[in-house]
């Protein structure tokens, strides 16, 4: 990283990123705007005082964030860093301690971050954010369709931009989420959305990003026959094993059929079949298959299946993944690990088995991304995603890896690492400021930018807090 950035030529086309509304908060407006021309850090203080009341007509396209601990994630952390953004993009990342000059446009807005931490936005994969609001209220649930094979179900069109869950989640550093269609075997397609925007279209930054495959359960129901309410529902272990096999066969066939359809389409067959059409990017290897599986048998089966057919898969859930860490590493299958807080599921396992699993996976060479679950209640608690990673750090995972598992790795998994996931020139100006280590549960997010727009950290929570904090005390 050099101390000087080249502004010209760094602009990448970001026309597919719609401008989000500038959600100015009262505190935001109260902050003095400091504009400087060819400002050198050495003279910063002087000029800052001098220009304190200066009025400018220049555009606010450029912003220089100064005096931050910059967690670039992709590279080193800069204890004294500056980040220059322009038109929603990062154009320069500077180490303030280096003697190299920092150049920036004359009309750049200067923001003093006063030694606080700057992190790239956290990305929550495999989430119900936007699809489910209140777990117990059915009317608010758009997470789960019916039917086992429906690849043409698309999650992003049903996201509620005004979900109260979104600002709450955002306020803890999460800038993007992948709403995932739930249930069935082939559940549908997902997209990546920014947690900011007036409409679903504005929020959706890439679609589709993955196909969701819920691996049929391989767990045998061992309930004794006499314990069945309806004994006719009882099936012997052998029968269940047969059924299990048949279910696998059905899903295997489905993907082979999808490939056949893709070939037919390439060959010019024009009969459109929507489910098969939806499978095209999968059949053509353009998007990964997110395989949801927790049980080691399911994980092994999925890995074998992917290898046999050369499918690109991501493992989501992954409770038992640590048991086959080497296998996953050898096949280069990343894991969205969602079980940090899961109790030991086998009575011979260590109490901290799931606290330690991410480190076991990493050590074997598996890329670990953190998830906190895809249920509606999980969506309400998505704000705690950094703490799932934090727990893994307490039990051995290097902190830098935990951070990557929240930012860069998820971006890579969904093929958006060219614009998200780290603080690097050329990427979107999507990051947030925290008054401490973001993994620390005592720390607060203070400011946030998504694609260069500063977004509000207000939420239903803060509004109610402010309201009732100010309830007059009894006399």
């Amino acid at each position: 990283m050099t101390g000087t950035s080249v502004i010209a030529g760094m602009m990448k086309n970001n026309s597919n990123i719609d401008r989000a509304p500038c959600l100015s908060s009262a505190s935001h407006l109260a902050r003095p705007k400091v504009i400087a021309r060819r400002l050198s850090p050495l003279f910063g203080l002087f000029l800052l005082l001098f220009l304190f009341t200066a009025v400018t007509t220049a555009s606010a396209e450029s912003v220089l964030l100064q005096h931050a601990i910059v967690h670039t994630v992709s590279g080193e952390t800069l204890p004294h860093g500056s980040v220059l953004i322009q038109s929603g993009k990062i154009v320069g990342v500077f180490d303030e301690t280096q003697p190299t000059r920092i150049t920036y446009p004359a009309d750049a807005t200067l923001v003093d971050l006063q030694g606080q931490h700057l992190y790239p936005g956290i990305i929550a994969l495999n989430s119900a954010l936007g699809l489910g609001e209140i777990d117990a209220v059915r009317a608010t649930q758009d997470t789960t369709e019916v039917g086992d094979y429906r690849p043409d179900v698309q999650s992003w069109i049903a996201v509620n931009p005004d979900s109260e869950l979104i600002p709450v989640t955002r306020a803890n550093g999460i800038t993007h989420a992948e709403p995932a269609p739930q249930g069935g075997v082939v559940g549908g397609l997902s997209a990546l959305i920014a947690l900011d925007g007036w409409t679903t279209e504005q929020m959706t930054i890439k679609h589709p990003v993955a196909l969701h495959l819920y691996w049929p359960s391989m767990e045998l129901n061992t309930t004794p026959k006499e314990k069945f309410k309806d004994e006719s529902k009882y099936k012997s272990l052998e029968d269940q094993a047969k059924e299990r096999k048949a279910k696998f066969k059905a899903l295997d066939d489905f993907f082979l059929e999808a490939r056949a359809y893709a070939r037919a389409r390439t060959a010019g067959n024009s009969d459109i079949n929507p489910p098969w059409e939806a499978m095209l990017p999968v059949a053509r290897g353009q998007i990964p298959i997110m395989v949801h599986a927790h049980d080691v048998r399911e994980i092994k089966a999925a890995v074998k299946w992917a290898q046999t057919n050369d499918y690109k898969i991501i493992l989501a859930g992954g409770r038992d993944a640590w048991q086959v860490a080497d296998l996953l590493a050898a096949r280069q299958i990343p894991v969205i690990y969602e079980s940090t807080w899961t109790l030991p599921q086998h009575d011979h396992e260590a109490y901290d088995v799931h606290f330690r699993a991410p480190e076991l996976l990493r050590k074997a060479g598996v890329k670990v991304v953190f998830g906190n679950g895809s249920g509606s209640f999980d969506a309400a608690m998505a704000k705690n995603l950094p703490y799932a990673a934090a727990q893994a750090v307490a039990f051995g995972l290097p902190e830098s890896e935990a951070l990557k598992g929240l930012t860069l790795y998820p971006a890579q998994l969904l093929g958006v690492a060219d614009r998200l996931g780290s603080i690097e020139p050329g990427k979107e100006a999507t990051f947030f400021v925290a008054d401490g280590d973001i993994l620390d549960l005592r720390v607060n997010v203070k400011r946030m930018w998504i694609a260069g727009h500063e977004v509000s950290l207000e939420s239903r929570h803060t509004r109610l807090y402010e309201k009732y904090k100010n309830r007059p005390r009894p006399k």
Binding site: L220, T222, P224, K227, A241, A350, A380, R460, Y465, Y468
Partner: protein, 1020 residues
């Protein structure tokens, strides 16, 4: 074997009598003198013409090995039977001239076996659905007539349908001949037939297993009253649905019976001027047990419930004994403490065949342990000094009985004990020791005759049994007969002549003449068959050998106290006292015995180092943080069975304390998060839930040993969506209340009822009159009114919080805590003014409509307004991480760190009124503390050690070895299982039926392992 050519029965050997008649007469005369009571012998009943005549009743069984009683064996002895009783036993006896003489050489004769716990199977599996009745006996809580979901009890009876003490096995005994024959085949001659459904089930009857009319078969009616903690036949929505409900119902029933006695007596004394007492056949039938005139048999169905049954029996002053659940190996100490005989079923789990090798991963260590321990359980019970009787009860296939008994013997049960378990013990338990159990003069002629090496060789056939002096031939097993014998038998059949007819005529296994060709196969075929048999035999032996060796460890191993030094001194640590001295850097903590002796800073010159007991443990605490043991004010861990008794609107009578689960691995998981105390609460399915139980996480202790005895009693209340069943589906809409209006109405109703209840008792104590009924529901609510029971109320919305405050103030009741209280921040002033505590989540919200306004600043805001605040888990997982939940108060509400830590230490202690004992590190308090690698609020902190009462229960450095030991044990068990399966040739297990998944039965203690239980779920 010599055969009498005149006799058509190949196995009945009669010898012509050759004794001197005069000698016999002399003996007879002597007998007359010695025991005139046995005379005159009744002449055999003469049946009407056409009936098969009753055979003569005098028999001499000559030449057998007679096991008179366990440990007393007579070789080649004679037994004389006369008209159903044993006239004489001894060596060198001369059979009387009127006796039919049976050559019993080579046979072993035991006193007839007794099954003390025989259920004969319900005739029809499910009773037809009851139509809605207008007038029923029953609990009136489940909806307004005619919408109630509990159809009630038809006709007079106890108000809970599954309490049927009035049922008598003696009245319904009408067995089918097949099941009797099956039992005789195992050597049984008598059985105590037990009613098999319900909670208090009715009385059993001791019967002879003979093919006679029921009147004659019954030896003794109403032997025991039977109680089972039975959850299997419960009905949805009908009280009681939960285990704790079942226990509560039993308790109430006996109190009702006690009251019934007094009330009836009072009425008889002065039938004028008072209301007529009710007639209740159920209570009427409970009177003998209540007055200790009848023994109660408990079937606890679980190792821990043995303790519950024992305590209940003492509480209710009952004579009792137990039916083993087969699980006592888990906690032999509890069985020992029961100090009563156990009736032991021998239904051992059968090893399953898993479809794929990988499928073994879903088999738990506990299941493997249960399988491996099962055959040893009878010996385990004996080792506790307990008497046992064995039963065929619980066996899917009763034919497994002998094989399993042998296995139990191989696994440490002495043969004499096993024999006693079949004879003398059940005879005495059933109060029939003067009739049955030994082969002695005057007893009923019930005998079990076994070939070969005797009963404990499963290959040795039971040749016959005698019941009340009548001979019952056991159907012969063709497979085991040699070809020669078979041919001989066929020959015999051919030359059939007139002979004495005996009841054994209808033997289905007898080879018919036309089958002769089938029997006489070629020698070659026979040879290969023999080889196969031999191979099978060897395999069986090899299997036996593997089965004989226990691999499993006791689940108590590696658990419990890790260190118990006389004192502990930790130097130079950061000590978060949570007391007035705050957080002390470079401080020392001294524990003496189970109490905190001192906390001081080295630099504090005013404090000299106190005296440290010899043998104390000294630790360098540099870099470490020490906090009080964490306290979870809202937990559903460590509860056996359901968390909710969700049927009735008020279940104030059910007690979590009845169902504390000391065996869940969750205790250890939570200790590893620094937790030392948990407030175990009933769920929130009804406005007035059950009574809570505060426990210390003393892993390895008994359920009683976990209890924080000094903690005041409390009760769970609940408001809002759960109690008005908002999320229970559209069909469940009839239980009152269905609105928040009704919730208030309901509470007012119960409190007024309780006030009247207290007044009734006060009046009675002052001025007498008809004795009031003890009502455990109103008694508990009455204790709230008396101020001796704390309310812990699940609540969300501000209006309902305010409602309860105002309503309770009308009754002069101060609420202990509001639980969850997610809108507490909206009415914090009112809560503070009332003086209730607020035990909330750090940051849960939006899981249902009433928590849409929940905010993570709630705790801090309430605290700022003067409410005593704690953070709780309400989750088996979150309870492991309460220290980090506390950190969230710093984040969202700006609560100072030391105050935030109090949210999970001192404040919950205060809320539970146990702060004089725990919650802070102050001299004189219990030595409950946790040691951390960093600040407890730092995400990188890891709990190093957890101590309770000065004893170490968790140590991070020992955790890996513990896990390794468990993994190793599981591997060993799996190896054993696989070896056995290999020996079964993959044939599906010769000894397993494919439907028998008993192996997978989860014990109650481990039913919820790995599951998170909280009262957020509507059905929990």
């Amino acid at each position: 074997m010599p055969r009498c050519p005149l006799h058509n029965e190949p196995e009945l050997i009669t010898k012509p009598t050759q004794f001197n008649r005069g000698f016999l007469l002399g003996i007879f005369a002597l007998l007359l003198l010695v025991c005139p009571c046995l005379l005159p012998a009744a002449p055999a009943e003469l049946l009407p013409s056409g009936f098969r005549p009753v055979p003569p009743g005098v028999h001499a069984l000559v030449g057998a090995t007679v096991v008179v009683k366990p440990g007393e064996v007579l070789d080649s002895a004679t037994i004389l039977i006369r008209d159903g009783y044993i006239e004489k036993v001894g060596k060198n006896l001369t059979p009387p001239p009127d006796a039919r003489v049976w050559d019993m050489k080579g046979l072993t004769i035991y006193a007839g076996f007794i099954d003390p716990y025989l259920t004969l199977g319900a005739k029809s599996k499910s009773a037809p659905a009851k139509k809605q009745l207008d007038l029923t006996a029953g609990v009136k809580f489940l909806g307004v007539n005619p919408q109630e979901r509990d159809a009630g009890t038809e006709g007079p009876g106890y108000e809970v349908a599954r309490i049927t003490p009035e049922r008598r096995a003696a009245q319904t005994f009408s067995p089918d001949a097949k099941s009797l024959a099956q039992l005789r085949e195992l050597g049984f001659t008598a059985a105590n037939v037990t009613p098999e459904k319900g909670i208090i089930r009715g009385t059993s009857a001791l019967v002879a297993l003979s093919d006679v009319e029921p009147n004659r078969a019954i030896i003794k009616p109403d032997v025991f009253q039977h109680i089972a903690f039975d959850l299997e036949n419960r009905k949805e929505d009908v009280y009681p649905e939960s285990l704790m409900g079942v226990v509560a119902v039993v308790r109430q029933s006996f109190f009702d019976a006690q009251h019934y006695i007094l009330d009836q007596a009072d009425f008889h004394k002065r039938p004028f001027g008072r209301a007529r007492p009710e007639f209740n056949p159920g209570l009427e039938a409970l009177i003998p047990a209540t007055e200790k005139k009848m023994t109660v048999v408990f079937e606890p169905r679980d190792a821990l419930l043995v303790d519950r049954a024992t305590r209940m029996a003492h509480e209710l002053n009952l004579d009792y004994f137990m039916v083993s659940s087969g699980q006592e190996w888990r906690r032999p100490d509890l069985a020992k403490a029961a100090a009563v005989p156990f009736i032991v079923p021998l239904n051992f789990p059968v090893l399953p065949k898993m479809p794929q090798p990988d499928d073994w991963q879903q088999v738990t260590l506990d299941q493997l342990r249960a399988w491996d321990w099962a055959p040893e359980n009878p010996a385990v019970l004996r080792k506790q000094g307990l008497e046992i009787a064995v039963t065929t009860y619980g066996l899917t296939d009763k034919k497994d009985f002998r094989k399993n008994l042998r296995l139990a013997v191989d696994r440490g049960l002495a043969e004499n004990d096993a024999l006693a378990a079949l004879t003398t013990v059940p005879a005495r338990l059933c109060g029939a020791e003067n009739m049955l159990g030994t082969i002695e003069f005057g007893k009923q002629a019930n005998l079990t005759v076994v070939e070969g090496k005797g009963y404990f060789d499963p290959e040795a056939k039971v040749q016959s049994v005698w019941i009340d002096g009548r001979f019952y031939r056991i159907p012969s097993d063709e497979e085991k007969e040699s070809k020669e014998e078979k041919v001989a038998k066929v020959e015999e059949k051919k030359e059939a002549v007139a002979k004495p007819v005996t009841p054994e005529e209808g033997d289905p296994n007898r080879v018919k003449p036309e089958e002769k060709g089938k029997v006489t196969t070629t020698a070659k075929e026979e040879k290969s068959k023999e080889d196969k048999k031999q191979a099978e035999k060897e395999q069986k032996l090899a299997k036996m050998k593997v089965l004989q060796q226990r691999v499993a460890h006791s689940p108590l191993e590696g658990r419990g106290v890790l260190a118990s030094p006389p004192g502990v001194l930790i130097r130079n640590a950061t000590v978060w006292t949570c007391g007035p001295t705050g957080r002390l850097e470079n401080a020392n903590l001294l524990i003496i015995s189970n109490k905190i002796a001192a906390v001081w800073q080295e630099k504090d010159a005013s404090k000299t180092s106190p005296r440290i007991p010899a043998g104390s443990l000294e630790m360098d605490g540099t870099g470490l943080n020490i906090t009080p043991g964490l306290i979870d004010c809202h937990s559903h861990s460590m509860i056996l069975g359901d968390v909710n008794e969700s049927t009735l609107t008020s279940t104030a009578m059910v007690r979590i304390g009845d169902v504390v689960n000391s065996e869940t691995p969750n205790i250890y998981d939570q200790l590893a998060g620094g937790l030392t105390v948990a407030n175990l609460l009933h769920g929130s399915a009804n406005p007035i839930g059950g009574q809570n139980c505060v426990v210390k996480l003393r892993d390895g202790e008994t359920p009683q040993g976990l209890k924080f005895i000094e903690a005041p009693q409390g009760i769970k209340f609940a408001l809002g969506e759960n109690v008005k069943q908002s999320n229970w589906g559209d069909k469940i809409v009839t239980r009152f209340p269905q609105t928040r209006m009704g919730v208030q109405t309901f509470f007012a109703n119960r409190f007024i009822a309780a006030r009247q209840y207290l007044k009734t008792w006060a009046d009675f104590k002052k001025s007498g009159g008809p004795p009031p009924r003890r009502d455990l529901e109103l008694e508990a609510i009455g204790e709230i009114l008396d101020g001796t029971r704390l309310i812990h109320c699940h609540s969300y919305r501000q209006d309902e919080i305010l409602m309860l405050i105002r309503l309770m103030e009308q009754f002069n009741v101060k609420i202990g805590t509001f639980q969850h209280v997610l809108e507490g921040y909206k009415v914090a002033d009112e809560i503070a003014q009332h003086g209730a505590g607020g035990s909330t989540f750090a940051d849960w919200w939006a899981y249902k409509f009433e928590v849409y306004d929940a905010i993570p600043q709630n705790g801090s805001l309430m605290r700022d307004r003067g409410v005593l605040v704690s953070f709780n888990s309400d989750s088996d997982d979150l309870a492991r991480r309460l220290y980090l939940e506390a950190a969230k108060a710093v984040k969202y509400g700006g609560t100072p760190e030391e105050e935030a830590l109090k949210f999970v230490t001192l404040n919950p202690a205060k809320q539970l009124h146990i702060d004089h004992r725990v919650g802070s590190l102050e001299p004189g308090k219990d030595a409950d503390f946790a040691i951390w690698s960093k600040s407890p609020l730092d995400f990188q902190t890891v709990c190093q050690q957890t101590w309770i009462d000065g004893k170490k229960y968790f140590d991070l450095s020992l955790a890996p070895a513990r896990t390794a030991a468990l993994a190793r044990e599981r591997d060993d068990l799996l190896a054993k299982a696989k070896k056995l399966n290999a020996l079964s040739n993959g044939d599906g297990g010769s000894d397993s039926s494919s439907d028998d998944n008993s192996f997978f039965n989860l014990s109650l203690e481990h039913q919820y392992d790995g599951h998170i239980r909280h009262c957020r779920d509507d059905e929990e």
